[in-house]
Amino acid sequence: MARFDPYADPSLAVRLALAGLLLVAAAATAGAFAADPEAAAPSPVAYDDVVELGLSSETDALMAGSARVPRTEVFYSQLQYVVGYNGVESFVATVGDGRTERQFGYPITVYVETFDDARPGTTETGLFRSERLGEWTPAEEAVYVVGSEARSPAGETVVPFRERDAAEAFVADHGGRAVDWEVVRSRSFDTDSAAAVRGTAPDRWTAADERIAAAERRADRPVSVVVSEDAPTVEAAVAAAPANTTVVVPPGTYEETLTVNESVTVAGEDARIRGDGNGSVITVRAPDVALTGLSIDGSGGQTRDPEAAREGRDGGDGTWDTNIQLGYGHGDAGIRAIGAPGLVVDDVTIEANASGLLLREGSHAVARDLRVNGTDEWRDGFMGITGMQSRVTVTDSVFEGGRDGIYLHRADGSVVRNSTFADNRYGAHLMYTGDALIADNAFRNELFGGVTVMTRPSGNAIVGNDVRNSSAGIQASGTRTYVGYNTLVGNELGFSTSSRGSLYERNVVAGNDEGARATTVVPSSRVVANDFVGNADHAGAGAGALRIWADGDRGNYWEGANVGTHEPGERAYRPTSPVDAALHREVAAVAVRESPAVALLDRLRGTVPGARSGSIIDPAPAAAPYSPDRLAAALDPDAGPVGADWRAELNGDTGTTTMDTRDRNATGGSIDPGARPAGPTTAPPTGGVADA
């Protein structure tokens, strides 16, 4: 190593090197301040690679046809992920919404899908469609058709074009008018939000009441045939009975399988129908059939029909989910309904070897007091209710054992309530099923989970359920889901926030291994007013930007968050930080939390949430639980399932909630179900540099 001699005159080379270094440093510094870091606009990326927000792209209406939702790609200043909005209006709804800017920063670049050469039009039902995919065009350069007849599954949709001529041509065919980006971005759109879903939950309950009452009226028919007296077998009795009459099945065991081809009521009086172990016991192929007071066993054990699935794949009608439709819809069942809308199943017990009640092809059914005892090992059996393209209304029923308590596939608008599930794989399992209500059910010892919504449906409400001792309480994916007033105790995972643009509120999450898990990479949901008590970890986060779990100045209740020397709610709580996570278990964590090092690091943490990753922050943890009564009941080992009076609470405030229903990515202006409207936020207009 060269000796350092400050007194010798440095050689020319050294001098040049020093001068060069100085110049470079000076130039770099000057350049750093002169350069504009946001100047370079990123190029559009493949839409498959973006993180989707906005409308669901997997609603039945979109999956089943050629309809499209114009898409938008947004590059936010803080967020490392490219966000794709289904529906230009979905993105527009977030513009000026402080919440999105707070989470992601401001949009640097926005691209919209333009349909100049894509042969745009509308489907028979008025949904926007195009023969080809559009091209990406910078949002401010595009021309937009608003107010045309083209709609999205959620309502009005904006159709972008690159050239004004193309836009005018579309206007000529489909109405509306062509406007610029500035006009579009300042418009408000009448679209739904998760808060709106919450608002409709009590209505869905009422609708179920009406369906049940109608079913009761349907089932109440004059007696025409009595089995044994008028006909030797149930099948013969059913065949003999005129439409709209009742077949009475006196007490006893009837060893037969039968098909109901007429709209009749089969009313058992402590009667058991026992199949021969092959196929389904009762097959219903007529509308408005009622089956009451029966016990059913002896169905075949075939859960799916691989033959049907294969045929469907090879030469079927090519529907996107033919495989599952046929595979899941063609097994054996205690009661099987095919194209039989208006089915009523009341006071029926099924010993299920495969499915208990299998519905397909629009067999909209009401089930009350249905008891399905499935197999002990879930792999041996199938679903308590399998509903394929059939809207079910289930109340006061019991599902034990078997694969899934209730499996619904393309069964929009189903209601499952007041029922008990135990020892299933999943309790209630929804696929491609939106606008459903899963309410006031009790789930126990579910192997995989209590309530699970897979794929990306929209507008489900999961309310007032009580899930315990299961792998997971509630795992709902999709969009605009309302998960509220549930009580989740002693599960491995309480709930996950897999559904985007959704609202998770008023849940009591106690004694779970992990209370809640943030799963979506880009946060777009609200998690607020939940009570987290006695969980090993209150919450965990998967990959993705920092999640802010609060609504304005209203956070969640976290046991331990307010331990220490500060006013309750004054200090942000981070359930994912090792120190905060230990607060409810180890008091000494307080001393670590108050250390200058932690304080200095924590102070600005929420400043650029979009640029951070893998954690959760609640800037305003609540001082006391939101639902103390339910919490006490949840923690009491002797108390039964906990119910919440959510219908009264949600109905009571519909007049006072200031919902921002046009913002479907978030969930509304104020989501406080109480009368208190959102106060002015205390965050500075810069988006929260001061403190999270």
């Binding site: 350092f4 400050p6 007194y7 770099a28 510094t29 350049g31 750093a32 301040f33 350069a35 870091p37 946001e38 990123p42 990326v45 493949a46 690679d49 973006v50 993180v51 590059f75 936010y76 200043s77 803080q78 967020l79 490392q80 992920y81 490219v82 800017e101 920063g105 401001y106 640097i108 990479v521 998967g542 990959a543 993705g544 090092a597 200095l600 690091l601 102070r603 600005l604 943490r605 400043t607 650029v608 979009g610 640029a611 951070r612 990753s613 893998g614 954690s615 207009p685 810069t686 988006g687 540099v689």
Partner: protein, 287 residues
């Protein structure tokens, strides 16, 4: 080389030699690197980008950099005076101004090495390692860019230079090593806390909040913090308003540096006369 530059250059080289021969400064740099790396590791901001890394470092930096600067400067002028070397130097044709500028330049270069290198290394690590959590989605950097970290580094060094200069002034005023430590700590506390406390006090006393951008720019820490918000972190937000008057803040940091130099020079030039006056007063009180 002749003229004032030659004097400055000679003193600069001598001072640089002193710095290089002080192993403690190397340890200081290593320690600083350790702390900064530890902060990033604990804070986690460095894992995703430069802006969150700066967010994690900002507040600790406000304490660490002044501390290092004071350590570098608190004896800069005192040790020569104490050992009598200053008196010898004064017999050479080197003016006080040249001497002070030479010493300060050398100490500032030391600061660039001791503070700049650890921060630059950390920036390099962030550059190499920062990545999104998951690669299954398309990603981009947003406004995050190494440029922002270079800005931060430049502002850090500007803050450090102001404190080096102020610490040198302290060293010129101090009469002994012990009093230099005491005065240095005082300057540190006054700088890190005092300015903001004064600002708080004036706001509490009824000063208009509209004066904040200008008042904030007056203290070195306030100016630094404001500049980092304005030019580094604030870039991630939609442009609106300003956190600090940029020109005023930069000017304040430069002025604090110059002020330190002027005070140092004045103390060395007239200190002995002041001492004499003080001594007279003291004897007048009955000594």
């Amino acid at each position: 080389m002749t003229g004032p530059l030659s004097g400055v250059a000679t003193v600069f080289r001598r001072e640089l030699a002193t710095v290089v021969r002080t192993p403690g400064y190397g340890v200081l740099a290593a320690g600083l690197l350790l702390v900064v790396v530890g902060l990033l590791a604990a804070g986690g901001g460095g894992a995703t980008g430069f802006v969150p890394a700066v967010v994690d470092l900002l507040l600790p930096t406000e304490v660490l950099v002044p501390l290092v600067a004071v350590v570098l400067g608190y004896r800069a002028l005192l040790s020569d005076a104490e050992s009598g070397e200053l008196a010898v130097i004064r017999t050479y044709p080197v003016r006080v101004g040249e001497y002070v500028v030479g010493v300060l330049l050398a100490r500032t270069v030391a600061l660039v090495a001791v503070v700049g290198v650890p921060y630059a290394l950390v920036g390099g690590v962030v550059w190499l390692t920062a990545a999104p959590d998951t690669g299954i989605f398309a990603t981009h950097t947003g406004v995050d860019s190494p440029v922002l970290f270079v800005r931060f580094l430049a502002l850090v060094l500007l803050l450090g230079a102001a404190y080096v200069s102020l610490a040198a002034a302290v060293s010129a005023l101090a009469a002994s090593r012990r009093s230099a430590i005491a005065l240095g700590v005082l300057a540190l506390v006054a700088g890190v806390l005092g300015g903001d406390l004064a600002l708080l006090r004036s706001l509490a006393a009824g000063a208009s909040p509209t004066t904040i951008p200008e008042a904030l720019a007056l203290t070195p820490n306030g100016a630094f913090r404001g500049l980092v918000f304005e030019h580094v972190i604030g870039v991630a937000f939609a442009p609106e308003g300003e956190f600090v008057a940029t020109g005023r803040a930069v000017a304040a940091l430069v002025v604090w540096s110059l002020l330190g130099a002027v005070v140092s020079g004045a103390a060395l030039a007239y200190g002995r006369r002041v001492d004499a006056v003080i001594e007279e007063i003291r004897s007048g009180f009955g000594g």
